[in-house]
Symmetry: C2
Subunit: 396 residues, 2 copies
């Protein structure tokens, strides 16, 4: 991952859930940085989400503080006090206001945050702040993730190389309704704050908001895009600036790569499934069909079993709640293979053809509704024994 001028990252062991794990990440932003952020739409918002939102309104951010191993969610007023205490300690150590620190937490819900251990580890994190700390940070924010997730790209604008780099964590409780679990992106080009927020929203809408592992929305979801302004380029002030689409494209590319990495690392996932629905009257109904397929335990276990059980996909489409859907006009493809045409099994379909596709690790399901021109695409994974094992054992 390429460093982003103006952002330094430091990781330390706070021993939050297990000793010796580097579970605390501090990100320092150079003065004058802007910060766009999206948070979970779950009504149960974790304490750090409440505090981060408030701090964002109160002061320009200088530090992002992330801990894994404890979500500080369902912890009430005490949880908010704990999140504030962590911010105050960062403020103390860095001689900045507490409101310039944004807290993020991920891990077990309902247990008190071990504030003392975090406070004790903060000087260590601060001591190792470095431009090349992205990879350690990607490890530090992991919970049930099996691999760190990071992505980086550059674009040349007016002769200057601009960097967009991001990290994310998330494997279960993934159906982002705003952003997914935790993701932190940075770019060195200066962008006006409202434009930065719009850039993040647009990118997230077609990336983090298009993935689902289990349909569960976290209480702690947050996605942050930092613009440090360290690049010598003049700020991008509005969307009509010809440089904006270049930047937005790079941000989307990083969000898409991180979002797909989350699905690939979905708890227990053995298959990466792309679900495309086209021919809808609007995007909403296409998404409704796509998510109904993606959340069907029967469809997901069929993928796990490499079973071309297309009847389960049809049954999911049929209960997706689409009014006046003409099932006799429906098509279903697995990759390029037509399985269902005009609502019934396609004449050329053979079980062995379906089997050869289901045996693959990456599969595209394409449903044609044949009643409009809207379309949507989401990504999901299968439901396996390991999902059960991971989530049954998660607190033990």
């Amino acid at each position: 991952m390429r460093p982003v001028a103006g952002m330094k990252l430091g990781t330390a062991c706070a021993g939050i859930k297990q000793p010796g794990r580097r579970d605390l990440v501090l990100i320092e932003l150079q003065p004058g940085s802007s910060c766009a952020a999206l948070f979970t739409r779950n009504l149960f918002r974790a304490a750090p989400v409440l505090v981060a939102e408030r701090h964002l309104r109160q002061a320009p951010p200088r530090y992002l503080l992330i801990n894994s191993g404890n979500a500080n969610a369902g912890t009430g007023a005490e949880g908010v006090a704990h999140a504030e205490a962590c911010c105050s300690r960062v403020a103390q150590l860095s001689d900045s206001p507490a409101e310039a620190v944004l807290p993020f937490s991920t891990g077990v819900i309902g247990e008190p945050l071990p504030v003392e251990r975090i406070e004790a580890a903060l000087p260590d994190a601060m001591a190792v702040l470095a431009l090349d700390g992205w990879e350690d940070a990607a490890y530090g924010i992991m919970t049930t993730d099996t691999v760190p997730k990071g992505a980086s790209t550059t674009v040349q604008i007016d002769g200057e190389v601009i960097t967009v780099t991001g990290i994310a964590k998330g494997a279960g409780m993934i159906r982002p309704d705003m952003a997914t679990m935790l993701a932190f992106l940075g770019t060195d080009v200066a962008v006006a704050p409202e434009l930065l927020q719009g850039c993040l929203q647009t990118a997230v809408a077609s990336s983090f908001n298009r993935i689902t592992v289990d349909g569960d929305t976290s209480t702690n979801d947050a996605c942050v895009l930092v613009s440090t302004g360290a690049s010598p380029l003049p700020p991008i002030e509005d969307a009509a600036d010809p440089r904006y689409p270049r930047l937005a494209g790079a941000v989307f590319q990083i969000c898409e790569r991180l979002a797909q990495a989350i699905v690939r690392d979905g708890e227990g996932a053995s298959k990466f499934i792309t679900i495309e629905v086209d021919g809808g009257r609007d995007e909403q109904e296409c998404l409704q069909v796509a998510y109904t397929i993606a959340h069907s335990p029967l469809v997901k276990t069929a993928f796990y079993a490499s079973d071309p059980n297309w009847g389960r996909i049809l049954a999911a489409v049929g209960r997706a709640g689409i009014a006046k859907l003409d099932i006799d006009a429906l098509t279903l493809h697995l990759n390029e293979l037509c399985v269902v045409r005009d609502g019934g099994k396609a004449a050329e379909y053979r079980e062995e053809l379906g089997q050869s596709i289901m045996d693959q690790e990456e599969i595209t399901v394409r449903v044609g509704l044949s009643r409009g021109v809207a379309q949507a695409r989401i990504w999901t994974c299968d439901l396996s024994h390991d999902y059960i094992r991971i989530n049954a054992e998660y607190r033990t």
Copy 2:
């Protein structure tokens, strides 16, 4: 199970999916019987559903023909012809019109119904028609069910003993949106057809329509209530008849017992979970919260692990889509134990108390929304390794 005067049941081996299994059930209704029925609301309606609905409109039913092992769904025009052929064969053997035969199928989707084998086995089923055939029939309609499901009760009306007996099958693909999989009930008292339909609808609304195993709705759901009129009592003609509530109570009782039996036999189920939501503005929002909890893979795996991970329940409530829900007024109980009060962990809650409840096989989750007087109750089960195993292996 007590016999219902006027209903005879016969079971035979057609070898539809595996040889030697009694997979064909024929139910004979005495002339003059009425038949109320509810069918799946999945837009993909299996061929037998289409045919049964049409036949119901065309003639008074004399026979119900049920096969397991093949759903005859996703089979298009050929599937309809196959269902018709089976009905015709029954008609031929019994000298009644084909329209007096209602077909029902359950099993694998998308494979052609082996009509010849069914036709060949029909005389065997007809030869063993008997009043005491209920238990064999309960076995005959099973697919992934591990136990047959039957229930029977009597009520005394005007000195006469009236019987209500029913059987059902279903273990996976269970989220009835109308009725669940297949259920057949009978009573000997005569009931006017519209009243019989209303009686069934009311009973199903609070029983089969309040259970979920995996949120998947079958293409073949059907629930039938037969009134044979074999009892000497004069017909119950309208709901104001003081005998009606007694009958309706008995029908509801049987539906409730069968519905709960389906959940207890849910694929891979090791726990029976009752979810009660009260304090809602209307029943709809209570149901929405209840189903969001019941369908959360994270909540279901926590039950499987006997893990008092109440944070996952809160997270499900928070994403249930209830507008303006005040989370600070929320309560959560496990059985009689208060876990969450005023949106946060209750002062008296201790992990070991929660653990002792989660260790049990029957658990009630009670969520208080504190914003109205509506309530709802549903039943579900946990999500276990066996669910994955059963559904991954189902076609192999």
